[in-house]
């Protein structure tokens, strides 16, 4: 009885190995079904989804105008102190003082891409960009100023 069971076990064991080998052999002969991305070579065609959270940027239009009012909602929403809003007072043509941003400092090295600042922004001034290759040689390069030099706030954004 023991011999019968032993031989049965041996054959079922070999069969189970062959079943697995058949699956491996299938992929060995069907290269088309292998879905490997050749990452650094496919950089030109690589397209990330539009919602991908890569880094915070501030879009500017053709007249170098942004939508940021300097309300510091993003600064308050950020869990890590990634964003610092430096405000200044602009003099409007009719002689009034108006608060505007001087610099919007963004520390990419502290950012965890949690999207809370984007959600908190009442005027949609900042968005997430689809970049992901963030490595630099100097840490200071990761501290960015999001508004372009000489940029102004768009008309009609309060």
């Amino acid at each position: 009885m023991f011999i019968v069971k032993y031989i049965k076990d041996v054959f079922s064991g070999i069969k189970s190995l062959l079943v697995g080998m058949r699956r491996t052999g299938y992929y060995f002969t069907h290269h088309k079904e292998i879905i490997t991305e050749q990452y650094p070579d496919n950089r030109d065609t690589l397209k990330l989804p539009e919602r991908f959270k890569g880094e915070v940027v501030m879009p500017h239009d053709a007249n170098n105008e942004h939508r940021c009012t300097g309300c510091t909602a993003c600064e308050l929403a950020c869990p890590n102190g990634t964003i610092k809003v430096v405000t200044k007072f602009d003099i409007t043509p009719d002689g009034k003082k108006k608060k505007a941003i001087d610099k919007l400092v963004y520390h990419l090295e502290l950012c965890t891409m949690c999207n809370l600042c984007i959600v908190a922004c009442p005027s949609d001034a900042i968005v997430m960009a689809q970049t992901f290759e963030h490595s630099v040689f100097d840490r200071a390069e990761l501290t960015k100023i999001l508004n372009n030099p000489g940029s102004r706030i768009m008309d009609g954004v309060e």
Binding site: S12, L17, G20, P49, F52, P79
Partner: protein, 371 residues
């Protein structure tokens, strides 16, 4: 010191597995006392990846602290975020729209499948099979792409917020998930062909790392680890949250208590998760994806506790609030910690080579143990 000398016996060998070891999937340090090749004692040393997440949460507001929990059990990040959102909603009595609830449950189950896929590949690699890892990652990549499209990230999504979800579903979501279900169903038999039926695998898993039902309960094991020993502990069934009470699924139970039983629980759980997604994906109700909440959340004074079923077991979140915008104290009851504590009982008397198989079936995620 004297006591140590008295209890130590001649011929004992103490070896260290970790903190950097391929089989521990992270910085887990195991001090193993051996007699020959037989394990006498396993002592896990923790703290190598302690980031004091609970303390960090105390200085963050109720919207901000959710992102930190993605970094605990990074393989079921959605489910961790879900626990936080649920606890804040429970405390503030926020009514979550039906659409958000359904989206959350679909996301949870997708995360569970992705987590079990990774576990399957990694565990097979631990015990010497390299191919399954790539088979598992092929399907997992599809889930990650779905997550990336809707939530904007692959692992640390931060998608659940108090009151619902952060952004509405991507228009392609339903189509992509249906494609994934089709793909999964056509590929899942490969797992059984490659690993489950394999004679070498079965003889390495059968009767290895036995954990009795009593031990599983007394160590506080939850999730597939306990269900492999026959303990009914699925939070989705026992304390349903969101729309889990409206979907049909069975709690997977195995009575073997050995590594193979824990393996089978997870394999069968993937099928259950797919069936949950199938029931919900065509019935996502229209409506808001987020309830209207105040900009600054303030929890009322008191203590709040919620629990969810992550891919590894029960995650409990305990918040003590003093009525301020930040919590006074937060405590996570993580599944990995309790499951790891059963390792000593499991491993005693077995051979050193089997320890890797046991650790593999415990599905340990070290940042979840240490926090």
């Amino acid at each position: 010191m004297l006591e140590e000398v008295a209890t130590s016996t001649e011929g004992d060998l103490v070896i260290n597995v970790g903190p950097q070891h391929p089989a521990t999937h992270g910085v887990l340090h195991l001090v193993i006392t051996l007699n020959g090749e037989t394990i006498k004692k396993v002592e896990p040393h923790l703290g190598y990846i302690h980031r004091s997440i609970e303390k960090m949460c105390e200085s963050l507001t109720y919207r901000q602290f959710i992102y930190v929990t993605s970094r605990m059990d990074y393989l079921s990040a959605h489910i961790n975020n879900h626990a936080c959102a649920l606890c804040v909603e429970k405390a503030m009595q926020i009514e979550v729209p039906e659409r958000a609830q359904v989206i959350r449950v679909i996301m949870d189950e997708l995360t569970r499948i992705a987590s079990h896929e990774l576990w399957w590949g990694a565990m097979a690699m631990d015990i010497g099979a390299f191919t399954p890892f790539f088979h598992a990652f092929r399907e997992r990549e599809t889930i990650n792409d779905i997550m990336e499209e809707t939530c904007g990230a692959r692992l640390t999504m931060n998608y659940m917020v108090p009151g619902g979800v952060m952004i509405d579903l991507h228009p392609d979501f339903q189509r992509k998930v249906k494609e994934f279900i089709k793909l999964f169903r056509s590929k899942v038999h490969e797992y059984d062909e490659l690993v489950t039926g394999n004679i070498i695998f079965r003889s390495r898993m059968k009767d290895v790392g036995f954990l009795s039902k009593e031990d599983a309960i007394s160590f506080g094991c939850t999730g597939p680890t306990a269900r492999g020993s026959g303990v009914s502990c699925d939070i989705r069934k026992l304390y349903p949250y969101d729309v889990y009470n409206k979907v049909q699924f069975e709690e997977v139970l195995e009575t073997g208590g050995d590594s193979l039983a824990r393996y089978m629980v997870r394999i069968r759980e993937m099928h259950q998760s797919i069936s949950i997604i199938e029931q919900l994906i065509d019935n996502i109700p229209e409506g808001d994806f987020q309830a209207k909440t105040k900009a600054v959340l303030k929890l009322p004074k008191g203590e709040f506790y919620t629990r969810v079923e992550t891919a590894r077991g029960e995650l409990g979140l305990y918040i003590v609030s003093e009525g301020a915008t930040t919590p006074y104290r937060i405590k996570f009851r993580s599944p990995g910690f309790s499951n790891l504590s059963a390792l000593d009982t499991m491993a005693r008397g077995s051979k050193l080579g089997d320890l890797v198989a046991m650790m593999g079936t415990l599905d340990l995620v070290i940042p979840d143990i240490d926090r």
